[in-house]
């Protein structure tokens, strides 16, 4: 969908997620906390789609950036009295970016399984550090008492999650604008080229390695912001933001929704987190089983993810429209 032959104009279907989010805000006020969590995970999934879906970088370590962002905001808010929400976000973004560029510069020289293991190693190391540095992170008990000021001095984070929801929605909207812009740009087209045929990109003179390091860093920054949002909304950080598990969950979400199609990152977290919320209430001990079944069904019957199911329908629609346009001439 990106590239030199695609139409960059926003289609009406692309406004649906935003309409749905606003409708959700008014229709289900008792679920706004879950809603905010979903929005954060969509932002996180978008950042993963950028490197996995577009650039073709496989990773099991994306939680490293999410977790670092979460802990940066948490430590600042709980230990150092930096309670301004935007300062926390900026600091989290900067830390994640730093980690992204420094680790990316090393591991992006590798690929496939080696790369997968290295990404996993990095997030595992961070998890262990967070676990051991109890004086800073609270260790296994987590870091509570994270303070965040009202946004712009006006909107306090309320217990119903109203402020949190709108705040996360705005952050996600900005993130979406940025990612959408990027994937339709020459850079986005170039990333698709790297994913499709790296040897060919080398042969047209592209400095592939540097291009990957840059997008990896951008993606890490976004993931860091998503992590900081989670801390601000929960006023708490736990070890579950680091390591294999959140990375794996994120990957499952993106695969459920559809990889490399921008809106798969929207659909996946919605389905996953609602299913998790429902299943965890109904079957507290077996809820992962339900997620597993869902993943198997999608992988077996919908290889392009849930969004991929709509492809034939969308293609028919665009064919009908282009033939209508041809008739109109």
């Amino acid at each position: 969908m990106s590239g030199y032959t695609s139409d960059p104009r926003i289609r009406w279907t692309e406004l649906l997620p935003w309409a749905a989010a606003i409708a959700f805000f008014f229709a289900m006020p008792e679920y706004l906390s879950l809603g905010a969590r979903i929005l954060i995970y969509i932002l996180f999934a978008l950042s993963l789609d950028l490197i996995l879906g577009y650039a073709g970088i496989i990773t099991l370590g994306h939680s490293a950036f999410f977790g670092l962002g979460a802990y940066t905001a948490g430590v600042l808010g709980a230990k150092y009295g930096v309670t301004d929400p935007f300062l926390q976000l900026i600091a989290a973004a900067a830390m994640a970016a730093l980690l992204g560029i420094s680790t990316g510069a090393v591991i992006l020289r590798t690929k496939a399984l080696t790369l997968l293991m290295l990404t996993l190693a990095i997030t595992s190391i961070l998890l262990e550090i967070a676990n051991k540095a109890t004086w800073l992170t609270g260790g296994a008990d987590g870091l509570s008492g994270v303070k965040t000021d009202p946004i712009l001095g006006l909107f306090k984070f309320d217990i119903f999650g109203k402020t949190a929801f709108i705040y996360c929605l705005i952050a996600l909207f900005l993130g979406w604008l940025l990612v959408r812009r990027l994937i339709y740009s020459p850079y986005g087209a170039m990333l698709t080229g790297i994913r499709e045929n790296t040897a060919r990109m080398h042969a047209v003179g592209a400095p592939v390695y540097w291009r990957l390091v840059l997008i990896y860093t951008l993606s890490a920054t976004m993931a860091g912001v998503a992590g900081a949002l989670l801390t601000q909304v929960n006023q708490f950080v736990g070890l579950n933001v680091l390591g294999l598990e959140p990375s794996g969950d994120l990957l499952v979400m993106l695969i459920l929704g559809g990889v490399g199609r921008l809106y798969g990152a929207f659909v996946g977290p919605v389905v996953y987190l609602i299913a998790q919320d429902y299943l965890a209430k109904q079957y507290p001990e077996y809820w992962y089983f339900g997620i597993g079944v869902l993943l198997i069904v999608v992988v077996l019957f919908a290889r392009g993810g849930i969004l991929g199911l709509f492809d034939p329908w969308l293609q028919a629609l665009s064919r009908r429209r282009s033939s209508a346009r041809a008739l109109a001439r």
Binding site: S2, G3, Y4, T5, S6, D7, P8, R181, L182, Y184, S185, P186, Y187, G188, A189, M190, T192, G193, E196, N197, A199, R200, M201, H202, A203, V204, G205, A206, P207, V208, R211
Partner: protein, 251 residues
């Protein structure tokens, strides 16, 4: 002596005890139409891979336009004007033909790093790509995915990408490999119409194509240059007949 377009000096490559390039001195003049031939296992592919930078030589030097590029990376050689096509089609199969060419042009133009304006609004890139496709007779295929094209046309896309980089030197690695004989004429027409100022080195098994296209021929045997000359000299050379053409008639 004027600078050569591309030159190797005492180029060697060995894998352990096996020597696959043995002191190759080779000169490609500006605007040349030069062919590199040799029996299977003569080291043609190794030689080309060293020229493009895919493989590092064991010793010796490679000069592009008089400058030493022996240690220069593959991508940087491309940016300095060394283009190539692949023996085995190496394309973005799931992307339209236009994108295949535009991605290369965008790299050459420095547009590929841009992150804001949509790619499809970079009219200069798209116009140039369309003009190039026009010269190769691919205009109607511009929006078709490469994987949906017949193989002969895919070979042309391969050439189109290389030309989009405006190379000073172009290495054509078996451009007609696998093309059905009724289409290979079209490939030859395209090769004949390439800009005269590009120095071209063609590696090809199709002797008919080689003798119609090349003005000079180098014969490589067991990693060494056996002989170099005009097509007439090569055709008349008894050693070449023995090791190469003779063998070909047996095959």
């Amino acid at each position: 002596m004027a600078a050569s377009a591309l030159e190797t000096q005492k180029l060697c490559k060995s894998f352990g005890a096996l020597t696959v390039a043995d002191n190759i001195d080779f000169r490609l003049e500006p605007g040349a139409r030069h062919a590199l031939i040799g029996p299977n296992g003569a080291g043609k592919t190794t030689f080309v891979n060293m020229l493009t930078g895919a493989l590092a030589p064991s010793s010796g030097r490679i000069l592009l336009g008089g400058e030493d590029i022996t240690k220069v990376s593959q991508a940087a050689r491309v940016r300095r004007g060394l283009g190539r096509t692949f023996q085995i089609t190496t394309l973005f199969r799931k992307l339209p033909v236009l994108d295949n060419v535009a991605l290369g042009i965008a790299e050459r133009d420095g547009v590929a790093r841009r992150m804001w304006k949509p790619a499809s609004r970079h009219a200069a890139i798209i116009d140039e790509a369309m003009a190039l496709l026009g010269t190769l007779g691919l205009t109607a295929d511009a929006r078709i995915k490469v994987e949906d094209l017949p193989y002969g046309r895919q070979r042309l896309v391969e050439i189109a990408i290389a030309l989009g980089l405006k190379p000073k030197v172009l290495l054509l690695d078996e451009p007609a490999a696998g093309v059905p004989s009724q289409d290979s004429g079209h490939v030859l027409d395209v090769l004949a119409s390439l800009p005269a100022d590009i120095a071209i080195l063609i590696i090809e098994h199709d002797m008919d194509l080689v003798f119609r296209f090349a003005r000079r021929i180098t014969v490589l045997v067991q990693g060494q240059v056996l002989v170099e000359g005009t097509p007439e000299q090569i055709a008349a050379d008894r050693r070449v007949r023995d090791v190469y053409l003779g063998e070909a008639t047996h095959a």
